[in-house]
């Protein structure tokens, strides 16, 4: 059975210069697509990935990364739409690079589908009433 997951990898300083993601392809036959990356030498690194592959290989790959010292979080669950604040205007839809934010044709309300979210945070910057929130675990 194959899976497709979006995750955020956090690399501590000492791991930033090691080619860990390479092993996901080489040893675990996983395909990955980089959604977002922020890597500076001597600082913590952040990498958002979409990973596709066999379910067992995915588990083993994640296991490998965790054992290497990488922290892993599920992506998308970090952005939240606060329905009490949202005015359903649509400004966030105009900046969303994915189909995560869209306007429902019938209700004309803004719908947020976290499955498509790549946590680019543009909606957070652009929302005029601060209805898009980032959740820190």
């Amino acid at each position: 059975m194959s899976v497709c997951r979006r995750i955020v990898l956090r690399f501590p300083k000492n791991l930033v210069e090691k080619p860990l993601v390479y092993h996901l392809v080489k040893d675990y036959d996983l395909k990955f697509n980089i959604l977002r990356a922020k890597i500076t030498p001597e600082e913590e690194g952040l990498l958002s990935l979409e990973i596709k592959g066999d379910k067992n290989n995915y588990s083993r790959g994640i296991d490998f990364l965790t054992k290497s010292g990488v922290t892993i979080e599920q992506l998308g669950q970090k952005i939240r739409k606060n329905e009490d604040l949202c005015t359903q205007c649509g400004l966030c839809v105009s900046v969303c690079p994915t189909p995560a934010l869209a306007i429902d044709r019938k209700s004309r309300e803004v719908i947020f589908d976290s499955n498509h979210c790549v946590t680019c945070e543009m909606c957070i910057k652009v929302c005029p009433v601060k209805a898009m929130e980032i959740k820190f675990d």
Partner: protein
């Protein structure tokens, strides 16, 4: 068969009035025909909920002990400056005012996270605000400084009085340059990356009364969740723009100045808003009832998104340089579909005003009227129409001659 305001109000008082929204009337006219629809329907309600920068409130705080004269001094509400060039304790709080120490666009694009619109929203929500002021002191107003908490319950008047709201139609904004830009129409991606628009279209008040036959000075309206009135035509009122055969302007045209008691409004419909890289403002909810006096008025209210057109304008170069230009015309059905074509390129569209809350406002106003809580008012004077010849002018920049004495 024509109806009068008084006949419609009599039906409202008896609870017999037939009231529908500007969306519902479309189907009714299609199904029953204009004549029957105009006969049966008494009132059509409209609504809009969008950012309206020319909004603000007059406040009177009452007199302190000893007295202070804010007029000619400096005053702030939650660090947002208010206009004091009035009598001792009257101020005007404008929606776009921002704290003196806001970094503005120094770190580009600026966030403008708190401004006058946010202060109005918090005031209406019943929150305490910090009033701080300095004054010069006089024999009758000796106090020079004050810092106190004020609350909408305690102050004398809080009057929303906005010089320009409810724009009749607006531009569709795009960006032809190769850099991303941050505008009051939202973020516009380079090279025609997206198009933003701002109108409740078929629900919008002035698009349902395109020639201002019923909306005029004194018209009672839904304003900010409470009751308000049309005070005058709004600033930049421009009734002479090009119109389609149905009378509807093809670009921003009429505007309204509105007034009402803030104490009976709701924070939900007066929302402080921050536009990235542009500034602070307030998103305002307005709903206006249109009496179906005759078939002509009924025909106007049955207007559909596909019959409402606006101009596509480049905000990258042409708009900032005040160059007259249109990249073409699109209708609101196209804009609401999520994609339009400009210069042969298909680009995604997004609204910046809330259609769903506009619909909610039209629905709320409909319920008020049906219940007999809200009667219609006949304008005491019409606002200027196309026949007035009034045209919005650009600034006439006459240079000042240097004078040496």
């Amino acid at each position: 068969m024509a109806k009068t305001y008084e006949e419609i109000n009599e039906k409202i008082r008896k609870g017999h009035a037939v009231v529908v929204t500007a969306e519902e009337i479309i189907g009714i006219v299609e199904e029953k025909g204009l004549k029957k629809a105009a006969h049966e329907v008494d009132v059509v309600t409209t609504g809009t909920f969008g950012p309206m920068c020319s909004s603000g409130a007059f406040l009177n705080f009452g007199h302190s002990t000893p007295r202070i004269k804010l007029g000619g001094g400096h005053a702030y509400l939650n660090n947002v400056p208010v206009y004091t060039g009035l009598a001792a304790v009257d101020v005007y709080l404008g929606a776009t005012a921002i704290p003196d120490d806001d970094p503005r666009n120094k770190v580009y694009p600026g966030e403008f996270s708190y401004g006058g619109g946010h202060v109005i929203e918090e005031l209406v929500a019943g929150k305490d605000l910090v009033l701080s002021a300095t004054a010069y002191g006089t024999d009758c107003y000796p106090r020079k400084k004050i810092e106190i908490l004020v609350n909408i319950q305690d102050i004398n008047e809080a009057i929303l009085f906005s010089p320009r709201n409810a724009y009749q139609n607006y531009n569709c904004a795009v960006n032809l340059t190769d850099k991303i830009i941050y505008t009051y129409m939202g973020v516009l991606q380079a090279n025609l990356g997206n198009a933003n628009f701002c109108s409740a279209a078929q629900l919008s008040p002035l698009l349902n009364d395109p020639l201002y036959k019923t909306i005029g000075i004194g018209t009672k309206i839904f304003l900010g969740g409470g009751i308000g009135y049309v005070a005058w035509n709004g600033t930049q009122h421009n009734p002479t723009v090009k119109r389609k055969e149905n009378g509807v302007p093809q670009a921003g045209a009429g505007t309204l100045s509105v007034v009402g008691d803030l104490k009976q409004m709701k924070a939900k419909y007066l929302r402080g808003s921050s536009f990235l890289g542009y500034g602070a403002t307030m998103t305002v909810g307005i709903g206006i009832p249109i009496p179906i006096l005759n078939e002509e008025i009924c025909q106007y209210t049955a207007v559909k998104n596909q019959d409402l057109w606006c101009q596509v304008v480049d905000y990258g170069k042409n708009y900032p340089n005040n160059l007259p230009s249109s990249l073409g015309e699109v209708n609101y059905a196209q804009l609401f579909s999520g994609e339009i074509e400009v210069q042969g390129k298909k680009i995604p569209t997004a609204p910046i005003s809330s259609y769903s809350i506009a619909r909610e406002i039209a629905g709320t106003l409909k319920e008020w009227i049906k219940k007999g809580d809200f009667e219609l008012t006949q304008p005491v004077q019409c606002i200027p129409g196309p026949e007035s010849g009034i045209t919005f002018k650009s600034m006439k920049e006459r240079l000042v001659e240097p004078r040496f004495e």
